[in-house]
């Protein structure tokens, strides 16, 4: 009996009929009746994408220099993240995975919070409500259920101007929790947008290893609409997400958006993609760079000129420099901090351990042979 072979075929690019695209790789605008882009700040989108890409490259450099323990690059996914995040209203809540640096940026989170996490100073500690951006979730798929519960809370609050968006990858679609989130969101008609960045890889595994149907089709079997958008087209990601969020706020329930994009970098800085992908494939995708097409559009349409592009580039370098300096200045947490915030209320067992370890450390200092 034929067992499907994983093969090693190159992913060829195709804007298949079902893929929503509003800006071609060449920077040509395409109109779509259902998804107007009225009021879209395309210059702002360009700027955000350039800045997050620069933050990303700086972080990679910092990791190479041993200043970060790890970094998960968003290279190639700037449009999917900036486009979708810019569609959020200030009150909407976002539940990211661990690669949504572009979403974090658009929500107003200081990128230093992300560097703290990848440096090993924190586990990614910020107040989710401050920027309506939840903590990064490393365990694949878990956050989709948190987002569903949060959306159920919005319903119970009777709020009609809030929705939730949760981000996850193509690989995550195989995880049971994500399907459970689909079922729950469907049953409770939760105001929730499932935003799946199909970047063609789960580390080394291609999407064909997760399912033989296009991801966006998964939704219909759970009773809600799914659509595929050109994930390298910031306008399409913006318009389609905005549309889905409005529907969610209007009580129409969940939507699944598959942003068809490509992970141009390694899975993380510890990964070696040369083991599982062809250079030619990467080259092919470079021609659909999410930033280049916007730059081409802005230039051709005259909405921006050289000066603007230069200014954004300078701004990016300056941001990167500041970020690097701040990163290097990050203090390590004091040893005893590891006992903090485990519980809200006191735990005698923990306090005993803390006291014991504090005394132990003090012993070294007395003997002068500090650790």
């Amino acid at each position: 009996m034929a067992i499907p072979s994983r093969g090693h075929h190159e992913k060829e690019w195709h804007v298949t009929a079902e893929t929503i695209q509003l800006l071609t790789p060449e920077g040509e605008r395409v109109d779509h009746p259902e998804y107007p882009v009225d009021g879209a700040d395309i210059r702002g989108m360009y700027r955000d994408m350039v800045l997050v890409r620069r933050i990303d490259s700086e972080a990679i450099a910092l990791q190479r220099q041993g200043e970060l323990g790890l970094w998960a690059s968003l290279l190639g996914q700037e449009a999917a993240q900036v486009g979708s995040a810019r569609a959020l209203s200030p009150k909407d809540m976002a539940f990211p995975s661990y690669r949504e640096h572009g979403v974090a940026w658009c929500r107003g989170l200081d990128p230093l919070r992300l560097l703290e996490m990848f440096r090993g100073v924190t586990h990614g500690a910020w107040d989710p409500e401050e920027h309506k951006f939840h903590l990064y979730t490393v365990v694949i798929g878990d956050q989709t259920l948190h987002a569903t519960g949060y959306a159920m809370g919005i319903q119970r609050d009777g709020s009609e101007d809030e929705a939730v968006i949760t981000y996850f990858g193509d690989g995550a679609t195989s995880q049971g929790d994500v399907s459970e989130a689909f079922a729950w969101a469907s049953v409770f008609n939760a105001p929730l947008v499932f935003f799946c960045q199909n970047n063609q890889f789960a580390i080394s595994a291609p999407p064909e290893r997760q399912s033989r149907a296009p991801i966006y089709q998964r939704a219909s079997g759970f009773g809600f609409p799914g659509m595929r958008v050109d994930g390298n087209d910031v306008l399409a990601c913006y318009a389609v997400t905005r549309h889905a969020l409005r529907a969610a706020r209007d009580g129409e329930g969940p939507r699944l958006i598959e942003a068809y994009t490509y992970r141009m970098g390694a899975h993380t800085t510890t990964d070696d993609p040369t083991r599982y992908r062809l250079a030619s494939e990467l080259e092919a995708w470079r021609l659909r760079d999410p930033i280049e097409r916007v730059r081409a559009y802005l230039a051709r349409s005259g909405e921006a000129d050289g000066a603007f592009f230069e200014q954004v580039a300078d701004e990016a370098d300056e941001l990167a420099g500041k970020l690097r300096a701040a990163c290097l200045a990050l203090p390590d947490p004091p040893p005893l901090a590891l006992f903090d915030h485990v519980y809200a209320e006191r735990s005698a067992v923990l306090e005993a351990e803390r006291a014991q370890y504090a005394a132990y450390l003090a012993g070294f200092e007395e003997r002068g042979d500090g650790r």
């Binding site: 910020w126 989710p128 979730t137 878990d142 987002a147 119970r156 809200a344 209320e345 005698a348 067992v349």
Partner: protein, 327 residues
Amino acid sequence: MTRITLSRALNEGLRRALEADEKVMIMGEDVGRLGGVFRVTDGLQKDFGEHRVVDTPLAESGIVGTAIGLALRGYRPVCEIQFDGFVYPATDQIVSQLAKMRSRSRGQVALPVVIRIPFGGGIGAVEHHSESPEVFFAHTAGLRVVACADPADAFAMIQLAIAAEDPVIFFEPKRRYWDKAEVDMAAPLSDALALDKARVVQPGADVTLLSYGPLVRTCLEAALAAREDGRSVEVIDLRSLSPLDMETIIASVTRTGRCVVAHEAPVYAGLGGEIAARVTERCFYQLEAPVLRVGGFAVPYPPARTEDHYLPDLDRILDAVDQTFTY
């Protein structure tokens, strides 16, 4: 004072919590119209509505995962896991998310979620309905793990658990659901013994008998029987399994010099080992005998017709008590 079952006491405690705070929610499989398979949530959906008492889809990871999301939104979900053996699909959400979120966020996020789990055997059930998984959660930092043993305490403990800012894994002694006792439902919660304290339920002088949940009653019966042999057994209901109330335990063992721990969970790598190790560390010179453990064997929970041999009973507990006098 009203004489009610443990199941009813929990039901009344949940009702009080739902009345006291509109953010309190109950969610789980069949908790609504059916009132739960043990009727612990009986009538609550009728009185508080289906959006506060939620019949969920059939998925434990989903129950806990969405409860976390609701807590992030400011709600205080009380999840019911229908039976002990069905908590395992939720392990990831409990261990990697519920337990860790607070420290991950450096205290900026609180998850006041309660997970109710009917646990233990003795009801002649089919497989997976008689497990005692408490040590999984006791070993997991960030969770509070408690077990109630009688109606009055159950009534107070469930309310304290819901009021706590920390996630609480709340174990209910399934086979004691129908035990009746006097409960003072008018008593203010502020008078209740704190959630993290153990309770001496039978003072004694010769040996300390530690237990929790379903075996507390068995231990009290054992203490009664022991008295006939002229032995004074002090019985302590641990109540809190994480953290353990070592002060109460040590105070007792320091007096008695002997200690036996009893639980239904397998002895091997169970909570009894932790207690024995701590007691021995603190009472090394006071102990007349090693801390002995009585518990389930290192086997999967057996079919109902042999469960009486698996479960620690009065005889096995007394046998261990006797052994501590042979050293």
